[in-house]
């Protein structure tokens, strides 16, 4: 029965599903690795309030790798990891990890639309 279902769906659909799941796992792994890497610097930061503001003094005190990502999102307002990576010329996966870290730190918000994840500065704070 199960085999029949799989064959009717077609192998491409199944592979796409697997790819999507792998991407999700990969994103989560990147966040975990990134947090571990910077745990000394940001130990107090990761437990920050969920509505921390992304102001210039905060940008100044950030480690270089995160500042670059945060500055870029400040300029575009709302973007995917892919779009940020074009400006910073770093790999999409790297930007994805940094963006997710900024979300955990409370500086950014994340919204999923279909397969794409958009990151943005909290509009309530910005409006």
């Amino acid at each position: 029965m199960k085999e029949q279902q799989l064959t009717t769906k077609g192998p491409i659909a199944i592979l796409e599903k697997i790819e999507e799941s792998l991407e999700k796992i990969n994103e989560k792994m990147e966040v975990i690795i990134e947090i571990q890497k910077n745990s000394d610097v940001n130990q107090s930061r990761t437990t920050m309030l969920p509505d921390a503001s992304l102001d210039v003094m905060t940008l100044l005190s950030m480690p270089d790798h995160l500042r670059k990502t945060a500055m870029t999102i400040c300029r575009c307002g709302r973007a995917t990891a892919e779009e940020i990576s074009v400006t910073t010329t770093r790999a999409r996966a790297v930007e994805s990890a940094y963006l997710n870290q900024l979300v955990i730190m409370g500086y950014l918000k994340k919204e999923r639309k279909g397969r794409k994840a958009y990151f943005f500065v909290d509009p309530e704070a910005r409006s």
Binding site: L54, V56, V121, A125, R126, S127
Partner: protein, 260 residues
């Protein structure tokens, strides 16, 4: 290519405001559409320099989100000859307004940065302005750093005084480098009159590049008449043959042809 240019310095009195106004006027004389913004909310001075009367809305109001950008722009094009457009947006000099601006919190400063960044869309893209000049307050404070972050190019004015040199160097390394800003240095009030002679210029330029690690945009000798003229007229307009006006024209050319 249109640009936001921030004019900043470590210490006060280095000539930021006169440089901003006169450089903007130089571009306006070339037929450009420009606007100067007073971002020195703690010690506003642009309204006095431009002798502005009857201002109803200030740049403070735009940042406070209580006024649209159109209502805070003050048209001064009539003061200049030629086809260029010259606007100014002023900081409110009332004590109450200064107190209000110095008691803003981080959230407000973050929104202010958003409003400054929005000028790229509203003024540069939609209203076809060529250059916006942010005349900032000296040192490291919110309004200045917001201006630097929002700008495409930053001019740092320094007098080369002992009290200014170390701080300027540190600021360039610890602030500008972190934000990866395109920066040019203007050495102002140079006492050695021969410093602007062509032969010596290259030597000075190399020296400055070495000391500050930033390219030199211009050398301005100490002109007492420029300082004394403050407020009475726009130098670049009223004294077209003065050496100061010529130095400004050279700087404008460098900026326009992107030799920065």
């Amino acid at each position: 290519m249109s640009k936001i240019i921030a004019v900043h310095s470590y210490k006060g009195g280095t000539g930021k405001t006169l440089l901003s106004v006169n450089l903007a006027a130089t571009f306006a004389k070339l037929g450009k559409k420009v606007c100067v913004f007073d971002l020195d909310f703690r010690a506003p001075s642009l309204f006095a320099i431009l002798n502005a009367q009857g201002i109803e809305h200030w740049f403070n109001d735009y940042l406070n989100n209580t006024a649209d950008i159109d209502t805070v722009l003050f048209d001064l094009s009539k003061r200049l000859s030629g086809k260029g457009k010259f606007y100014a947006s002023l900081a409110n000099p009332a004590t109450e307004a200064i107190r209000d601006m110095s008691s803003k919190d981080r959230k407000w400063e973050m929104r202010a940065l958003g409003r400054l960044l929005a000028l790229k869309e509203t003024l540069l893209a939609n209203k076809k302005f060529d250059y916006l000049f942010f005349d900032t307050s000296p040192g490291l404070q919110y309004s200045s750093i917001n201006a630097i972050v929002a700008a495409d190019y930053v001019i740092v004015a320094t007098t080369g005084d002992r009290s200014d040199v170390d701080g300027t160097k540190r600021m360039l390394v610890e602030l500008y480098n972190l934000f990866e800003k395109k920066t040019g240095l203007v050495l102002n009030k140079v006492l050695d009159g021969s410093a602007t002679a062509t032969a010596k210029k290259a030597e000075m330029s190399a020296k400055i590049k070495d000391a500050y690690q930033v390219p030199l945009l211009g050398l301005v000798p100490c002109f007492c008449e420029v300082l004394r003229a403050e407020g009475n007229f726009i130098f670049a307009e009223d004294k077209p043959d003065h050496p100061f006006t010529k130095i400004l024209a050279e700087m404008a050319k460098k900026i326009e042809t992107d030799q920065i």
